[in-house]
């Protein structure tokens, strides 16, 4: 039986380069594609001297092309700038303004990489896609479902950002690195002789230089002609006492301690406990005000199990760096109500809540409140 043609999403980094090298070695016909998502010439005030590690920089495209040529697979750059702006950048900015803290990587996975990119793969005649994500996919005969599992390298696991993948998307997706440890991936890169084997990992959100969301949004506002006074407001206590001013709710996220400027000092440290987009107020309080037991999760995508009809037990992760905590999930009309066994710090609307049973990803959704 001939192997299916695979479109490999190549970023120019080590991970996706190893994917291309591995699949080619295993005899799969591959096409390398790099998605041009963001024009780095935009928002020039954000430019830094450090051009590497920034997605869609010419250096990364150069590296991806060099790897594809080295491996010996056809390679193309495809323009997704309009789609990325529409499905990721604009919603990212809108979410911040709506008092939530968005996750652009999840938006990109849901609407670009596993949707439009899959369509591009169809267009060029590829049956499957492969990426360098750290997660595992397997088919469960008993339930007849595609399941997602946490990656073997627990420090690299990206399942928190991948909870939106549907059954049909999972059926056509390969994560060849899901079962490997990062040092093994580096060794493979060296073993394959890939020209990017020594390239450092990229850390930040691809289109936001230095991870400074607020500076990005400020620059975006200037480009779009939105005046700063349209987003500035007051810093208040839960009782409504005005403590100071702020330059925009997008500078704050729940649980944040840095950057809160108040005229009158409080005896204990202040944390953001809520941002209110309507009044444009940032509510601050004590660390203990951040502890929550209950949260509502909406727009849920169930992956490894069918949607439950009765309460189930699961471990719930509410941030990428959060250790999943045991909870009871009760189905509601719009999603599930999560009740943690023990209170959790900084439940943040706009972030994802992802449900696990051990290493199996059951599903996930968006924290509404």
């Amino acid at each position: 039986m001939s192997k299916p043609t695979i479109a490999v999403a190549m970023s120019g980094g080590v991970d996706s380069s190893v994917v291309a090298g591995l699949l080619h070695r295993e005899g799969y016909p591959c096409v390398g594609l790099t998605m041009q998502l963001w024009n780095q010439r935009r928002l020039p005030e954000l430019a830094t001297d450090k051009a590497t590690g920034r997605c869609c920089s010419l250096d990364d495209v150069y590296d991806a092309r060099a790897v594809a040529n080295f491996v010996g697979i056809p390679y193309y750059v495809v323009n997704f700038e309009d789609r990325f702006e529409q499905h990721v950048v604009k919603p990212f900015v809108d979410e911040y303004l709506a008092g939530r803290t968005p996750i652009p990587c999840t938006l990109c996975n849901n609407f670009i990489k596993f949707d439009q990119f899959l369509e591009m793969a169809d267009g060029v005649g590829a049956e499957k896609i492969a990426t360098g994500h750290y997660a595992r996919i397997q088919f469960d005969e008993a339930s007849g479902r595609w399941q997602m599992l946490r990656s073997a390298d627990t420090t690299k696991d990206q399942t928190y950002f991948l909870f939106g993948l549907t059954q049909s998307q999972l059926a056509r997706t390969m994560f060849p690195l899901g079962g490997m440890l990062k040092p093994q991936v580096r060794e493979l890169a060296i073993g394959l002789g890939l020209p990017v084997a020594e390239k450092p990992d990229s850390q930040e959100i691809c289109f936001v230089p230095n991870g400074d969301y607020a500076a990005f949004i400020d620059a975006y506002f200037r480009e779009q002609g939105i005046a700063p006074e349209q987003v500035s407001g007051q810093v208040v206590t839960p009782d409504g006492e005005v403590l100071g001013e702020h330059a925009g709710v997008h500078h704050f996220t729940v649980g944040q301690r840095k950057g809160i400027e108040v005229k009158r000092q409080k005896p204990e440290p202040l944390y953001v406990i809520e941002t209110n987009p309507v009044t444009r107020q940032v509510v601050v309080g004590a660390n203990s005000d951040l502890l929550r037991t209950d949260l509502a999760v909406e727009q849920i995508n169930w992956i490894s199990i069918a949607p439950p009809v009765a309460p189930i037990r699961a471990e719930v992760r509410i941030r990428n760096r959060h250790t999943p905590a045991p909870a009871t999930l009760t189905p509601t009309a719009s999603g599930v109500q999560v009740r943690f066994d023990a209170p959790q710090r900084a439940v943040t609307p706009g972030q994802a809540a992802v449900f696990y049973s051990g290493e199996v990803v059951l599903g996930g959704g968006w924290i509404a409140s």
């Binding site: 096409v31 790099t34 041009q36 869609c56 010419l58 495209v61 092309r65 056809p74 193309y76 750059v77 495809v78 323009n79 700038e81 309009d82 369509e119 591009m120 169809d122 267009g123 060029v124 005649g125």
Partner: protein
């Protein structure tokens, strides 16, 4: 896999004659054309022979030929070299190549729109002219559509106001007559010559824009690319054009076999080798990739610095939406294309288009 090349407006394969001239010159004339000794004289002799050949192709005098590093440099020299004290305004059109639009945008520029076929209205040029206008720049043949601009009419307007006319004629050479504007840009690699050599025909004085020695009659400094110029000259000795038969057959077969297709610019005078076709509701990018993987080289839009495709400013200028502009392919034929290749191309196009339309929600 057999490969068929339908992208001759991007570049042409070098002809045997040009290649032979290039290698012979590199081998046999190793001197610097500015040197006094006989090595230099030999190189100079070949350079001047090439200059006469290029001049003849453009119906110009040899001393009007300034060899450059290609079309882009010639356009920059034409535009910046025409500026004078108090005259720093340029009139050009919305369908020019970036090699004209981009330098023009460094100056005070009026960009005149075009009609649905890509043609400029000479009266609009007239309305754009100001006392400080230094130059009018209108391309001869559009690289994406193949449409031929009414340069004689534009030139009549330009002369009325005493403004020199520049025309980027890189897509005209070897396809249609070269209009004798005051300044004319030519490029070797569009006529089966090598890349990296072009010329500006200057019937009026131009000031140099790069500085160094006194080469090219003090208009373009730098050691001459003698072998490139010689190969360009050789290419100019054979400017036989392809006829419209294969292009017409390609358009006919596409329109007949693939629904919801349309030829852009078909209502204007066109050169014989270029077809620009709109495939409604389809992304051009996967179409180009899908065809390339099947061995057919075509193009869509213009490549940005990363190599991704940007929607063509030419197609939006003739009134296409951004979406429709993304849905167009350019086929540009050349001397080696055959009827069998054209038919094989349409055979490959039909199923790829059908599959993309099945996927695309835009196509209902």
């Amino acid at each position: 896999m057999l490969r068929s090349y339908f992208d001759h407006n991007a570049t042409t394969p070098i002809s045997e004659a040009a290649l032979a001239a290039l290698t012979a010159c590199l081998r046999d004339a190793p001197g610097n054309a500015s040197s006094i000794h006989r090595f230099g004289q030999e190189a100079k002799q070949r350079l001047e022979q090439a200059r006469r050949q290029v001049a003849a192709a453009a119906q110009a005098k040899p001393d009007q030929v300034i060899f450059t590093g290609g079309g882009t440099e010639a356009n920059n020299l034409a535009i910046f070299g025409s500026l004078r004290a108090g005259k720093r305004h340029v009139v050009t059109t919305a369908v020019e190549h970036p090699a004209v639009l981009s330098p023009a945008r460094e100056l005070d520029v009026t960009v005149v729109g075009v009609d649905g076929q890509g043609l400029v209205d000479p009266d609009e040029i007239r309305r754009a002219i100001r006392p400080e206008t230094a130059l009018i720049s209108v391309m001869s043949v559009n690289n994406e559509l193949g449409t031929i601009q009414p340069l004689a009419l534009v030139h009549a307007v330009a002369r009325e106001y005493g403004v020199p006319l520049h025309t980027d004629a890189v897509q005209a050479l070897g396809k249609t007559a070269i209009y004798p504007a005051e300044l004319v840009t030519l490029s070797a690699h569009k006529v089966y010559g090598p890349q990296g050599i072009g010329a500006l025909i200057a019937r009026v004085p131009v000031r140099k824009v790069t500085f160094g020695g006194h080469h090219e009659r003090d208009r373009r400094p730098g050691t001459e690319n003698v072998a490139g110029a010689v190969a360009f000259g050789a290419a100019c000795m054979d400017l036989s054009a392809v006829g419209p038969e294969l292009r017409d057959q390609l358009e006919r077969e596409i329109l007949r076999r693939i629904p919801r297709t349309r030829v852009n610019g078909a209502g204007a005078p066109r050169v014989a080798n270029t077809a620009n076709v709109l495939f409604e509701g389809i992304e051009g990018e996967p179409l180009v990739i899908g065809l390339d993987l099947r061995g057919f080289a075509v193009s869509s839009g213009s490549a940005c610095s990363s190599g991704a495709v940007e929607p063509s400013h030419v197609l939006t200028a003739i009134g296409l939406s951004r979406e429709d502009a993304r849905s167009c392919l350019r086929f540009s034929l050349g001397r080696a294309n055959t009827e069998a290749e054209v038919l094989a191309l349409v055979d490959a196009l039909e199923p790829v288009v059908a599959r993309l339309r099945k996927l695309s929600p835009a196509y209902v």
